[in-house]
């Protein structure tokens, strides 16, 4: 740096930006943006203080969580519907995903098919499950069917994308060996590709089932069936102690689902 200077040499930490002025400008811009964000929200401290008072009141009204027999039945009914939605949506979604995954694998699909597969995945991944669910509700009416459609739709993007990546990573030697025996395209897929990706496919299915359980508990908020509708009802009726009961039940189910899914996946691998 300043090795030619005779006297005291200085040192400043080199910056990842062009120079120190740019660095400070970037920092200033970030802080400015955050301030703008905060200001544009009109968040006032009064509101927050007021909120905390309200929160204290609400928390006392939420505790203890309410469990009357009638509400317990409501809870169980909603939860069972959610679980059923998760199972059906996983199976339907994976069935649709299988061809899409092979289409979207660069090493086995012809160019145009590959782009089609990629396109399908992108469209599926772009929107949040609740947006898909709200559109599905308008199309097929309120109820579990809309939820199943939304969850299946989201499953396709997730499952196909990850399986396509797995297919792209296969050992081509094995595939070539099968091809060299004179096997046709389908046989090559069955013997050269499928055995290599099967464990991953099963693992992904279990994993997606786990995610679908999480999502099936909330799509009801827009009317797509499951415990979410029960939750929104409790919310609309200011029935906060039942609301809390449902939230805790959801947490329990989600944690349980995650444990089961992790256990099964560790057994497969």
């Amino acid at each position: 740096m300043a090795t030619t200077e005779p006297e005291r040499r200085e040192w400043r930490r080199p910056t990842a930006f062009y120079n120190h002025y740019v660095k400070w400008a970037v920092y200033l811009a970030i802080v400015g943006f955050l301030l703008w964000s905060a200001w544009s929200m009109r968040i006032s401290f009064d509101r927050m203080v007021e909120g905390w008072d309200a929160a204290a009141g609400l928390v006392t009204s939420m505790v203890p969580p309410e469990v009357t027999p009638f509400k317990r039945d409501l809870l169980v009914e909603g939860m069972v519907e959610s679980m059923a939605m998760a199972v059906v949506a996983t199976i339907v979604g994976v069935f649709i995903s299988i061809p899409v995954a092979f289409m979207a694998a660069e090493n086995i699909a012809p160019r145009p098919v590959y782009w089609l597969g990629r396109g399908l995945i992108t469209v599926s991944r772009a929107f949040h499950e609740l947006i898909v669910a709200i559109v599905a509700v308008k199309a097929v009416g309120i109820g579990a069917l809309a939820g199943v459609i939304a969850l299946s739709y989201k499953t396709v993007g997730f499952w196909s994308k990850l399986l396509a990546e797995e297919i792209e990573d296969i050992d081509t030697g094995q595939k070539e060996a099968i091809e060299a025996t004179g096997a046709n395209r389908t046989q090559t897929l069955l013997f050269g590709v499928v055995p290599q990706v099967l464990p991953r496919a099963i693992g992904l299915t279990i994993y997606r089932w786990d995610i679908n359980i999480r999502h099936s508990t909330i799509v009801g908020i827009v009317g797509a069936g499951g415990i979410g509708s029960t939750l929104l009802n409790a919310f609309d009726k200011y029935d906060y102690d039942f609301f809390l009961t449902i939230v805790l039940a959801i947490v329990a189910v989600v944690v349980l689902g995650e444990l089961v899914s992790t256990y099964i996946r560790s057994r497969i691998q």
Binding site: A16, R47, V88, V140, L145, Y240, V247, V251
Partner: protein, 264 residues
């Protein structure tokens, strides 16, 4: 060699039985689930026509409406930015508690792990409902919902990064006589910086998506507009909003990916 052909089967009878049982269980669960849903088959039959109908009603998008949604879109991004910033700040102490090599004691470790798994297990929309109850509808509830939901995710990944650091570098700083905070600044912070920046930008990307929907329960952002448009059956507006969301999601994905590439 014998004259008979040796028979070959891929699996032993026992393995095959196990597989059949598993497949059977899956089928039974699937069938039972289908029964539970009690789906009206007429709905399924009419679904394709309904969808096509929806599509024709949506097209073309209402371009005159574009100006009106710019404000909500910016608000959506703001919610995501503020929520992520808050989450990242809060997740530093939680990550330090939840990493086995920096946690002060067993109680702290348990607390850290509890915060991580609890905040992660409750969906952002449920957090949004909860904060709407407390603070009333508006962006504040949205920001807090995004922040709280993200704490578990960020803390978990940062804690994993902390657990993987090279203890030698920390020791070297201790050996110079540095105080504990200086040891953290020089010995730990540089090692987890890439993970830290990666996790925050990745989470910000996810949060942009999340903040498009928390409006359904009144927690601000473009979701409010979407909900209104759907409730009033203004399908051309709905398509405009959907396209805008698509654009913003793609932009945030590109930005977050390029930021993560930059930081090594």
């Amino acid at each position: 060699m014998t004259e008979e052909y040796a028979s070959w089967e891929r699996r032993t009878p026992r393995q095959r039985l196990g597989r059949y049982v598993l497949v059977l269980i899956t089928l039974v669960v699937a069938a039972a689930s289908w029964r539970v849903l009690d789906v009206n088959y007429n709905y399924i039959e009419s679904a394709p026509t309904e969808f096509m109908d929806l599509v024709t009603r949506m097209y073309p998008p209402d371009t005159s409406y574009t100006g009106d949604i710019i404000g909500p879109l910016i608000e959506t991004v703001h919610i995501a930015v503020l929520g992520t910033a808050l989450a990242v700040v809060l997740s530093i102490p939680v990550a330090l508690l939840g990493a086995s090599n920096t946690t002060p004691n067993k109680l702290g470790f348990a607390l850290g792990k509890f915060i991580i798994s609890f905040t992660r297990s409750v969906n952002v929309i449920i957090w949004a409902l909860l904060f709407v109850i407390i603070f009333g509808s508006g962006v504040l509830a949205g920001v807090l919902a995004i922040a709280v939901r993200s704490i578990g995710f960020c803390s978990k990944l940062i804690a994993e990064a902390i657990e993987e650091i090279d203890p030698g570098q920390v020791e070297a700083m201790k050996a110079t006589g540095a105080n504990p905070i200086e040891v953290a600044i020089y010995g730990i912070a540089p090692q987890i910086k890439p993970a830290f920046i990666g996790v925050s930008t990745y989470r910000w990307d996810i949060n942009v998506r999340s903040s498009t929907i928390i409006g359904f329960v009144g927690a601000g952002g473009v979701g409010v507009e979407l909900n209104t448009a759907i409730n009033f059956f203004q399908w051309q507006r709905v398509l405009t909003i959907l396209l805008a969301i698509l654009a913003i999601v793609i932009i945030s994905e590109v930005v977050s990916a390029s930021l993560r590439r930059k930081v090594r």
